[in-house]
């Protein structure tokens, strides 16, 4: 019973955190994109436009909620939450402080890798329920892409687990040494790239490619339902960045306690910024190139990392 209560409490906290994160993230993305593009981005509401989302959110909340007449209505209506839930859940295993994670389970790493993969199902549901050609293509693209990139993503986390000898994120963080950073650099880059692909962001934003599929798998969603998709996307970015910050980058290192948590958030924010920077710099790859890149570059690279760690491990 208490676990259920805890779960509900965590759920609410995660939704709020993701919502807050997404609000800040969207603003930050608009600012980053703006400055990269030699302009300002939001400027009017709040300092440097930081409260722009305060205007956007109520507006989206009370937009007309269009359900296309041809759509499969129940699926159409619930798909956003299905996308959102795994992302919210995955946040639970991230060690926000040394030795503490909201859900400190012994299979935390596995949980983190596995649960967001459920998103694929949700996206497929969303895409198919609309009966929209563009959305369908977007959904298909998303499915193939996400499933493919699961592999390098998982492989890239494996060395961490090997080094730490545990699947428990807090344990990984506990065992973390600074020299892991150079040692795991290939794995980290593979993880980052695979995560970007997982969260459908540029240069791997094929499923929602604006210039091709208009909006991809959420083409027919409006108002708040669409906002939930966006929140999920930002949530995934936040989760992936937090996880990387908490594991690859050594969590709070070199600080401890509350300062450490701040360091984790800061590192995650930095990663998020890098992801945005990449997004606004590169062109988009094509579907076949995306998959080829996955199998011919990322997976071998992750395997190389694994071998390197395997070689190093006995010497520890």
């Amino acid at each position: 019973m208490s676990a259920l209560l805890l779960g509900i409490a965590w759920g609410i906290a995660a939704v709020l955190a993701i919502a807050g994160g997404a609000v800040i993230g969207v603003w930050w993305e608009r600012k980053v994109a703006g400055h990269i593009q030699l302009r300002y981005g939001p400027l009017q509401i709040g300092p440097a436009g930081s409260l722009q989302m305060l205007a956007d959110v109520p507006k989206l909340l009370f937009k007309e909620d269009i359900v296309p007449s041809a759509a499969d209505k129940p699926l159409f209506k619930w798909a956003p939450l299905m996308v959102f839930a795994p992302v919210a859940a995955s946040l639970a295993v991230i060690p926000f402080a040394a030795g503490w994670a909201p859900l400190d389970t012994s299979v935390g790493v596995l949980f983190f890798l596995a649960v967001p993969s459920l998103e694929v199902v949700a996206i497929l549901v969303a895409a198919w329920s609309q009966r929209n050609t563009l959305a369908a293509i977007g959904g298909l693209r998303a499915a193939s892409q996400m499933i493919a990139y699961e592999v390098p993503r998982a492989l890239s986390v494996l060395p961490l687990v090997l080094l730490a000898g545990s699947l428990r994120p807090t344990a990984v963080l506990g065992a973390w040494q600074w020299w892991w950073m150079p040692l795991l650099s290939i794995g980290f880059i593979v993880y980052l790239i695979a995560s970007i692909a997982e969260m459908n962001r540029g240069p791997f934003d094929l499923p929602e490619a604006e210039s091709e599929l208009v909006a991809g798998y959420f083409a027919d969603y409006s108002g708040m339902r669409w906002a939930i998709f966006m929140m999920a996307e930002y949530g995934a970015m936040i989760a992936a960045s937090l996880f990387a910050a908490a594991t690859f980058l050594g969590g709070g290192w070199p600080f401890g306690g509350a300062l450490g948590t701040a360091a984790i958030v800061l590192k995650a924010a930095l990663l998020i910024t890098v992801i945005m920077w990449v997004r606004w710099t590169f062109p988009r790859v094509r579907q076949d190139q995306l998959l080829r890149f996955c199998w011919t570059v990322l997976v071998p690279a992750a395997l190389v990392q694994l071998v390197v760690v395997g070689v190093v491990l006995p010497w520890m």
């Binding site: 703006g34 400055h35 593009q37 302009r39 300002y40 400027l43 920077w277 606004w280 710099t281 590169f282």
Partner: protein, 680 residues
Amino acid sequence: MDVKRARPAVPPSVSGDAEDRMGLVKGAASLAKGLGITLKAGVSRPLTVRYPQQKVAVSPRWRGPLALRGVLGRDDIPLLKSASHAYNELIDGLYRSDRLPPCVGNCPANVDARGQAFLIADNRVAEAYELVRDRNILPGVLGRICHHPCETACKRNFYDEPVAIRPLHRFAYEEYRKIRHERISPLPRTQGKSVCVVGSGPSGLAAAYDLLKLGYRVVMYERERKPGGALNTGVPAYRLPRDVLYEEIGDIVGLGLELNTGVEVGKDVPLVELIREHDAVLLAVGLQQSRILPIPGTDAEGVVGALEFLWSANFKHEAGVRGKRVLVIGGGNVAVDVARCALRVGASEVKLACLESESEMPCHPWEIAEALDEGVVALCSLGPEEVLVRHGQVAGMRMRSCLSVFDETGRFAPKFGDETTDVPADVIVFAIGQAPKIDALVAGTELLVSGRGQLVVDGTLFTTSVPGVFACGEIVTGPGSAIGSIATGHEAATSIHRYLQGLPLDGDRVARPVPVYPKHAPADITNVEANRRRAVMPMADPEERASDFRQVELGLTRQEAMAEAMRCLRCESEVCVGCTFCARTCPDYAIKVERVDEAGARCLTRYDYDLSKCCYCGLCAEQCPTKALQHTGQYELSFWHRDLMVFDKGEMLRPPTGTRATGRDGVSPPGCPVPRREEP
């Protein structure tokens, strides 16, 4: 982005490297480079102009919505009125601000033809006459004989036909003579100095008029018994009835001019005495001698100069050519005058021979056309070679064909061919130009005379070698037009005024600008509405008129003249006259113009401009003759309703300040359509 001069060579192939795929390392490097470029941009200053707090400086040529500066019925045009010695500054100022109407600019004396048309259309004819007389001292005369450069430059040439400015002068005079007695009274003499003018031709009269208005005492001497100079002796009466000339000069006398006719300076009165007696002397004696070519046979009986011929034709109506064949040598206006006079004094056959080809003839085309109408025969491209003499009497002229008159540089250098023709004639009149005859005049003074018998005069200040003695008119400029002589008279008067006031003669004096106006191809008037056409000057019948000295041009009726005055576009006045050419030029037909034409109450009643059809091409404003229609620099043009986008006259006249956004005054209630505001 840094401004550095990079001139990369074009690569042999734009395709780049031969292999399509980059290696992993090169690929990663290219990605890093890309990230570097975006990072650099990310930390550099944004290019954004933060509208609405900051605004981009809009180009001064920005073609925003149109606005009117002024409209007929609300705004008057400025009349070019000024003291004569300050007139140049007025013209120069207009010229510099690009507000000089072409008719004014192209006139040597800068007569305000635009103002004249404005006043006549307003039924203020006497005022119009006086406005014109300030510059063109003899409007009635010039209204008959002027070669009207104003009409040549008139902007209406571009649209259809020029405004009949010269006939309007004449019309104004006809109206004015009815009330002349009310308006002429001697001017006060405020200066206490006196000026003597020798010669009563147009230039002398112009100077005298200016000086009288400035308050000087002016004494004028004329050799002939009647005043007018060349206007009196040279211009045939069928073009200029003498009573008009005497009347207008009489007006100037009425203003205080002391005119002494029948007194030849140099013979009856020595010039030295005049110089001593007066504070300044102005020589305006004109050219008094006809030139005769130095070819064999010119001493034979029957060879005459044009001036002598015209003199006798004008005053005696008899030049000894009755029933004879007359050959006029020359292609200028004087030659045409001679030819036409010869017809009138009874010549049996008049031929006109000139060097130039038909298209090159220096006389005005309408003159030769009228002459041909009357029966004159023109022999073009013929050069005189020898006068054929039989028994001491002229029998004809041997002419040699002329191939070209001017060389490549435009200098007078006739080339002759081999062919010769003999033209039989009983009288040969040379009308090839005039020369000054001033030996008797300058005798006893220190005035310098050049080797060719010409007075030495400064061409811009009109001073001679003796201080206090000035000269103007054709002795300065050479043969020219009456209005050109008048212009020199005004200049000389200004010089005299400055001299008498002890001011430096050149100093801050402004020279009148000589604008160059674009030549217009004759407009195609085949499809032009009848009411846009120029009033046609009624002419006497050619058969009838060729026999006597009555006037050929019959003058406009009052109605015609008023209508003609309304045709004036009031160029450069920034007051819209409703000429409708903007509406006609608009490729979108976004403009509608209406106007009421009632003398004294002319008014632009409607100017509707549909902002929503306008394509901002600028064609209308470019060709607006008045420059009243101008683009504003506005660009914030949001409206609540489409009907608000039709600007009426009132809206067009609103000063282009502030924003026009959201329609009138920017405060329309949102949400509901706003009905179109009625015109006040």
